[in-house]
């Protein structure tokens, strides 16, 4: 009888250890995943961001200017995300440049990025003196958004207006062919 009790106790303890281990492990995993989802959105001046517009290497860069309040921008975001997924294993880098108002970064932009689980890199541009920098992105840009610059080295394609996934994909494919 006594022997039986000891065995039962050991069994329960062993199970308890397994359950506790699982709990700790899952808590650790979840917190890790949580940190990954809440990727930071840095706020940059135009001067700090400008080097991203003219990288001299063989990576394809897709730079999309958008804002949470811009309906056509939000509409095309899933296509950009899809493109980012498709080329994630190649020399490819996408940056979604938010032009949301500074006072709405915490109240609108960050919650939007989290809710939509955006995987592409998001930066927030703090550059109110727009006339000073818009032409440096591209001389054809009047300032309306969405606007997208796609480039690889010297080959640059700019559009003020929306893209479809197929249009984006065709441009990226062309840029990858030497």
């Amino acid at each position: 009888m006594n022997k039986h009790a000891v065995r039962l106790f050991t069994l329960i303890m062993n199970r308890l250890i397994v359950v506790l281990t699982l709990l700790v492990l899952s808590a650790w995993l979840f917190s890790g995943a949580g940190e990954k989802a809440a990727r930071p959105v840095p706020t940059l001046t135009f001067e700090a961001f400008e080097p991203m517009l003219a990288k001299r290497n063989d990576t394809v860069y897709v730079i999309n200017f958008w804002a949470t309040w811009c309906a056509p921008c939000v509409k095309e975001l899933p296509d950009f995300e899809k493109l980012n997924q498709k080329y994630s294993k190649q020399k490819f880098r996408m940056i979604l440049v938010s032009l949301d108002f500074n006072r709405q970064k915490e109240s609108r932009l960050i919650p939007f990025v989290q809710q939509h689980k955006l995987k592409a890199e998001v930066v927030h541009l703090n550059a109110p003196d727009a006339n000073a920098w818009i032409a440096k992105v591209n001389p054809d840009w009047s300032g309306a958004i969405p606007a997208t610059l796609i480039y690889r080295g010297d080959r640059k394609i700019f559009r003020e207006g929306s893209y479809t996934f197929n249009e984006l994909d065709a441009i990226v494919k062309q840029l990858f062919t030497k």
Binding site: A67, P128, A130, I134, A135, I157, R159, G161
Partner: protein, 200 residues
């Protein structure tokens, strides 16, 4: 590479087609558009005006909204000098329901716009002017029977905080033409919302 060049050419072509519209120095056409009070408005209705601050703008765009008080201020400061504001909504109400004529009437009343707020109902005027975004200003000066474009661009250089705007482009441009000089700058770029076009 051949395909790429073709693609580039096509894109450049479409960009140049889109880039129609007025440049500084061009003659601007008059229009006849319905105001929120129901009247039809033309520049010809203002025989005493020396010019016009034409602003393509709308209800829904946060950049347009951010500039609402500054548009009112521009009108209140410059209409007595002969340069009234005429605000034109170029957006299609099916593409952007917040910019319908009845919503325009509501917004004009809420803000007490002292200037006409008219609808470019068939979306021809914004194309002729070459407006690409809201807000987008065209400063016109009357010379005889002509309306000459003297400045195209933004109201000032800080959309988010009027107090921090240290370049008041439209104000400076009017002051320049009043002195008989050319505005400098006479063209500026600004972030704004694309014009919402009817899907056919």
């Amino acid at each position: 590479m051949k395909h790429f060049t073709m693609l580039l050419t096509l894109l450049a072509l479409s960009a140049s087609l889109m880039a129609q519209g007025y440049k500084v120095g061009d003659k601007a056409a008059d229009f006849r558009l319905r105001n929120v009070d129901g009247r039809m408005i033309s520049m010809a209705d203002y025989p005493d005006a020396k010019g016009f601050i034409i602003i393509f703008t709308c209800n829904h765009c946060p950049y347009s909204v951010a500039y609402e008080d500054r548009k009112i201020e521009l009108h209140n400061n410059f209409a007595p000098m002969g340069y009234p504001v005429i605000a034109i909504n170029p957006n299609d109400s099916i593409a952007q329901p917040q910019d319908s004529f009845s919503k325009m009437q509501i917004r004009a009343k809420e803000k007490g716009f002292p200037f006409p707020y008219v609808l470019d109902a068939d979306q021809t005027v914004y194309k002729e002017y070459g407006a690409t975004r809201t807000p987008h200003v065209f400063l016109l000066q009357k010379q005889g029977a002509d309306y000459i474009v003297r400045y195209i661009g933004a109201i000032d250089n800080n959309h988010e905080d009027a107090a921090k705007a240290d370049k008041k482009y439209v104000k400076e441009a009017i002051n320049a033409i009043e002195r008989g000089e050319n505005p400098d700058p006479d063209f500026t770029r600004a972030i704004g919302c694309t014009i919402k076009v009817r899907k056919s």
